[in-house]
Symmetry: C2
Subunit: 297 residues, 2 copies
């Protein structure tokens, strides 16, 4: 797909991946129906699918079979989706709007949203175990381990715990970075590494991809903070200004908008440098880094 | 350990397993500390460890290495513990007492309890992926798959969804059985099968163990309903009579105490029959079946 431009490449993957998710999620008519309908509601028709796109770009880079990367990308996206459902619940961020739609607990109810999140997480690991993603089962176990480490108490969920503890407290820049490296960075890195693990990849390549993922993941969050501070609710598809309202520390509250933008730019440059060894083959990853830093929503 | 009696065998495993869990859970001083403390609070010092004991008995039956069964048993117990933490939350059963202690969200807070449950589930899969549990990695992936299927929307979480939908509604006996086969039965079966998968086991043995697990799992629930209807809060270590208060269908509300007891007895007999091919080697599993049906708490 290298002959098409980035917009064409990403929209083709996005629409194709939507069908992949439709097929992998439990069908709405399968018991328990309300839970399965709510799982589909929480995952389908929404989001930019940034993590899957990163997995597809990394997979293409190492010549991985698309059918395998589909599963890895879906596993990562289900973890992301579960975290959004639980994050939006009244006891967490108490958000009513997500991706321009009522959040899961608003559309269904709280107990269902709790089970939706729980079940989406389980499904992520189930997908990694019940499909062949690498000819060597040991590599596939490594993928399960990677996703679990990125998602758990020393990864994404741990980042959310640090976030909870930081509300109303003055965080230093290193503390804020530590929070985001866990909260959003870990899963973004996992998306790239899981995509790469579907193909043949050297330790040095994994290292560079990991560093790329780390920079892009952090840039993603910095840009998110800038957009949240600047955008209005309609453009964002979620309640804008929420972080400032909640007195949560962000890169913008800590650095101001301009310095936060500069920081995103530096991370962008560092991410691109990490791709040097790959030459032209890393074009899609470069374009994704551009997209993440330059996006307006 | 076959020379000791069942009480000695189970209490030795229970106390040894407590140390195993202490070592496998994130240490309390590791960041994020409050989350890790709450994870330890939710898992340690509590429960009869029925699922781990079943895993140990199945592991011994097939000559599995104890170090491997420890991990499999811990993974199952973490899934069980996560489900209790989420079940107890205000939006679900809103329970304040569990295993004689304040529930996780009471002791800590709701957002922390949500993340504790999420992180315990992740840790279960992480443990299955980052330890060697079988010389053949493909068998180990099968274990990940088994645990995920038992836990997800077509397993335990699905059973909870059916449970939610059944509140205040008249369920038939088959509907009630379907709920419990998912809600508690699936994980009990998984405990036995995961223990067995740590060793060398034939398809016929797995089949019989699975049938044993199915009967024992259902008997476990029937006995739970009887105990909940009869016991007082002090003996049970959780709020008694809760199910009847919530107008939830149980085997007792559907059949009455005596017929429920008879049903548990029949399931007990069927479970024992499934062990015939194993002869004396299945003694611990038989004793566990006895324990589950004859327990008073």
């Amino acid at each position: 797909m290298m002959s098409v431009d980035f917009a064409g490449w990403s929209s083709a993957h996005q629409s194709r991946f939507e069908d992949v998710l439709r097929g992998l999620l439990p069908q709405a008519e399968v018991m328990p129906q309300r839970l399965h309908q709510a799982m589909r509601y929480a995952v389908l028709d929404g989001g930019k699918r940034v993590r899957p796109l990163l997995a597809f770009a990394a997979g293409e880079l190492v010549g991985a079979e698309l059918g395998r990367v589909n599963i890895a990308a879906a596993a990562v996206e289900l973890i992301h989706a579960y975290s959004l459902v639980h994050d939006d619940m009244p006891c967490m961020d108490d958000d009513v709007l997500r991706r321009g739609k009522p959040t899961c607990h608003v559309q269904y109810d709280e107990p269902t949203a709790l089970l939706v999140g729980d079940s989406l997480q389980t499904l992520a690991f189930q997908l990694l175990a019940e499909n062949t993603l690498n000819d060597d089962a040991r590599h596939q176990l490594e993928m399960v381990k990677l996703l679990a480490q990125a998602s758990g108490s020393r990864g994404m969920a741990g980042g959310q715990a640090i976030d909870l503890e930081s509300v109303g407290r003055a965080l230093s820049l290193p503390e804020l970075e530590n929070m985001h490296i866990h909260k959003t960075g870990a899963l973004i890195r996992a998306a790239i590494l899981l995509g790469a693990h579907c193909g043949t990849v050297t330790a040095s390549q994994l290292n560079n991809l990991d560093h790329f993922g780390k920079c892009v993941g952090l840039a993603f969050q910095v840009v998110d903070d800038v957009l949240d501070a600047e955008a209005d609710t309609a453009t964002l598809g979620k309640t804008a200004g929420k972080d400032a309202d909640n007195d949560k520390p962000t890169y913008v509250t800590l650095l101001g908008v301009q310095a936060a933008r500069n920081m995103a730019g530096e991370l962008h440059g560092e991410a691109l440098s990490a791709l040097d060894e790959f030459g032209d083959a890393a074009q899609r990853l470069r374009e994704l880094a551009d997209f993440i830093v330059l996006r307006k929503f």
